[in-house]
């Protein structure tokens, strides 16, 4: 892979911080601005290194799809966090005008083709986009992001079979956070139960399968980058299992209107009572971990890292302010966009 210069390393750190800060502001919105966020949100805190390390391998014109846990990708692609927060608040200034909300961010101009809120169902969408890329022969690559739970959906098997058969330019990035909502992966995955990595699933589709520490952006960059290069030259898809630890619960509580929404404790604690697992995850938090590394390697000084963090805090405060100030849509606009 191309060596990352100091500017690029600082960019990776900045993007990781932006995702973390954005997600913390989404989470804090439930307390600071009750009722502003409706329905369900899903945060990417803990997956920042995996997201940014993956997206750092892309070139202009490349594309990606993701899941309902979708706030991280557009931030790293350059989507305006003001428009994203306004979307999560259901406002006219939102990225999608308030039609989609937290689970359905999309920014086609930056290559983010969309998300499915239904587990596993976006995998064929990415695969179809990769077919389009193959037909157009412009060297485009598509990244398909999904979770470990999605790998038990038929859509996963069907799409990976065709992608390998047709040598499509796609990389499947499975973010394995060890939990399907509140079910542990060993409880629902035969490979995990047998003590094998989930990347072995690739063997069934005759494509490479690689497991990587998703908490290390440079390891992710290396593994996804190799897979992207393989896809770009026409050698076909790769399944990357990126092992991450989601630091928040699956989502905010599911409750009918009238019950204030909030984020419960992570399932390790809330459901399984496993405080040590969660404490270990916090000790391995990818964001401070990468900060320490960059400072040790002389890429950034502590003062520079602090300055980045300060700028990011200001940027996300402005996103919250913009979202709150943006008006709610006129009700009758609900009938727009049903058909093109």
């Amino acid at each position: 892979m191309t060596e990352l210069d100091n500017n690029r390393l600082a960019w990776i750190y900045t993007e990781m911080l932006r995702i973390r800060e954005f997600e913390e502001r989404v989470k804090r919105s439930f307390e600071e601005h009750p009722g502003v966020i409706r329905g369900h949100t899903h945060l990417a805190d803990g997956a920042e290194a995996s997201i940014v390390g993956s997206i750092a391998t892309l070139k202009p014109g490349d594309q990606l799809t993701a899941t309902y846990r979708c706030h991280g990708y557009p931030l790293a692609l350059g989507t305006d966090p003001k428009a994203m927060m306004a979307e999560i608040y259901g406002r006219t200034g939102g990225l999608c005008g308030g039609y989609g909300g937290s689970m359905h961010l999309v920014d086609p101009e930056r290559g983010f083709l969309g998300t499915s809120g239904i587990v596993g169902q976006g995998i064929p969408h990415a695969t179809g986009a990769a077919w389009a890329a193959q037909i157009r022969k412009r060297g485009q690559v598509v990244l398909s992001f999904f979770g470990d739970g999605a790998s038990k959906q038929g859509a996963f098997a069907e799409a990976l079979n065709i992608a390998s058969l047709w040598k499509l330019p796609i990389v499947y990035v499975m973010e394995n956070n060890s939990y399907n909502v509140v079910t542990r992966v060993e409880q629902e995955d035969a490979n995990a139960a047998a003590g094998e990595p989930l990347a072995v699933k690739a063997k069934a589709f005759s494509m490479p399968g690689v497991t990587v520490d998703g908490g290390d952006p440079l390891a992710v960059y290396d593994v996804v980058g190799t897979a992207v290069q393989r896809a770009r030259v026409g050698d076909g898809p790769t399944l990357v299992e990126s092992k991450v630890y989601r630091l928040s619960a699956h989502g905010n509580i599911i409750a009918p209107p009238g019950v204030p929404l909030h984020y419960p404790e992570h399932e390790a604690i809330e459901v399984f009572g496993n405080h040590e697992e969660y404490a270990a995850a916090l000790r391995g938090d990818p964001v401070p971990r990468f900060r320490v590394r960059l400072i040790e390697d002389g890429v950034l000084s502590a003062e520079q890292a602090d300055a980045i963090a300060s700028e990011v805090r200001d940027e996300m405060q402005a996103a919250v302010d913009f979202g709150l100030a943006s008006p709610l849509p006129a009700a009758e606009r609900a009938l727009d966009h049903v058909y093109a």
Partner: protein, 326 residues
């Protein structure tokens, strides 16, 4: 100028012409283009024409992805029931993307599927299941009944910027008809008045259009003048043409091969009851399939399906008259 070809060939002609006209149009699915002699493969190459595994979720899901990326896929699904394997992609993915994005993306694709193969195909390959899709905002639903419409509606479906479910009737496959040469488009949302009449309006879809026309011919011999309307597209539905006809005739018989409570006839009846009530001189009659799975054995299969006699009987009921003994 026109030429006479079978209904199924008219569909293929439209796909061929659209693929020649627009290089973004793709055609793929199960059991097509498996040899180099395939006419689509020869004409358009293996980038745009591909056989797929038996993987409906991937086929339809990939069509959505290719459409999001700017192409116009036509998915060959063979039988409408195969869509049920991929119901999430049809109902909860394809028609949602444009809306959820606030209009930032579009999903132009065509799902081509045969239906209603009531010729001994038993319970799982004979359904008239389009009613499952007509209530899904964002989907369009097309039901051609003639070779010319089969061509013109397919061409329009491919050029439409929305997901379109194109349902062709298996029993019409080899029915010949005059088809206009060259580019031919039939607009969505414009019903065809197949026969004009003043005593009763018969609205029939798909294969039932011919049955309704046959019934109208017999009724004419009894001095009853029936108007026969073919909506051609269920979404968008040309309710105006139906209401205008009912205003003239005062009587409405709805004929559909779908089961009664899963039939678009029920929605048309509701619209006419709501918006055309003052025109009605008699209760609306629905001649649909009876609410049962289609049996394999012929007498049982025929028993549940609408036919010419059932249509004529319904017309007589709306007129308060007795059928003339044969």
């Amino acid at each position: 100028m026109s030429h006479e070809i079978p209904y199924i060939a008219a569909i293929g002609e439209a796909i061929q012409l659209e693929m020649a006209r627009d290089e973004d149009v793709l055609y793929f699915g199960q059991n097509i283009a498996t040899t180099e002699n395939d006419e689509f493969l020869k004409a358009f190459g293996s980038d745009r024409v591909r056989v797929t595994p038996i993987s409906e979720t991937a086929e339809i899901g990939m069509a959505i992805g290719a459409a999001l990326a700017g192409l116009r896929p036509v998915v060959e699904l063979y039988m409408a029931e195969f869509m049920l394997v991929a119901m999430n992609q049809v109902v909860n993915e394809a028609p949602r993307f444009r809306y959820m994005s606030g209009g930032r993306v579009k999903v132009p694709l065509v799902l081509k599927a045969g239906y209603g193969f009531t010729a001994g195909w038993a319970g799982q390959h004979t359904g008239s299941i389009y009613g499952m899709f007509t209530g899904v905002p964002g989907l369009k639903v097309v039901l051609p009944s003639t070779a010319a419409d089969a061509k013109g509606l397919m061409a329009t479906a491919i050029r439409d910027d929305n997901p379109v479910c194109y349902f062709h009737h298996y029993l019409l496959t080899l029915e010949h008809g005059e088809v206009p040469d060259g580019e031919y488009l039939v607009p969505f949302g414009q019903a065809a008045i197949r026969r004009e009449g003043g005593d009763v309006t018969i609205v029939a879809t798909g294969y039932m259009v011919d049955k309704a026309l046959a019934a109208a011919e017999s009724l004419a011999a009894e001095g009853i003048s029936a108007e026969v309307i073919d909506p051609r597209t269920l979404v968008p539905l040309d309710i105006e043409t139906i209401l205008t006809s009912v205003e003239k005739t005062g009587r409405l018989v709805l004929v559909d091969q779908a089961t009664r409570y899963g039939s678009p006839a029920a929605a048309i009846a509701a619209d006419v009851a709501e918006y055309g009530f003052s025109s009605l001189k008699a209760p609306i009659k629905q001649v649909t399939a009876l609410d049962a799975t289609i049996a394999y054995s012929e007498p049982m299969e025929a028993f549940v399906l609408p036919d010419e006699a059932k249509i004529s009987a319904a017309v007589h009921q709306t007129l308060g008259s007795a059928p003339v003994a044969a």
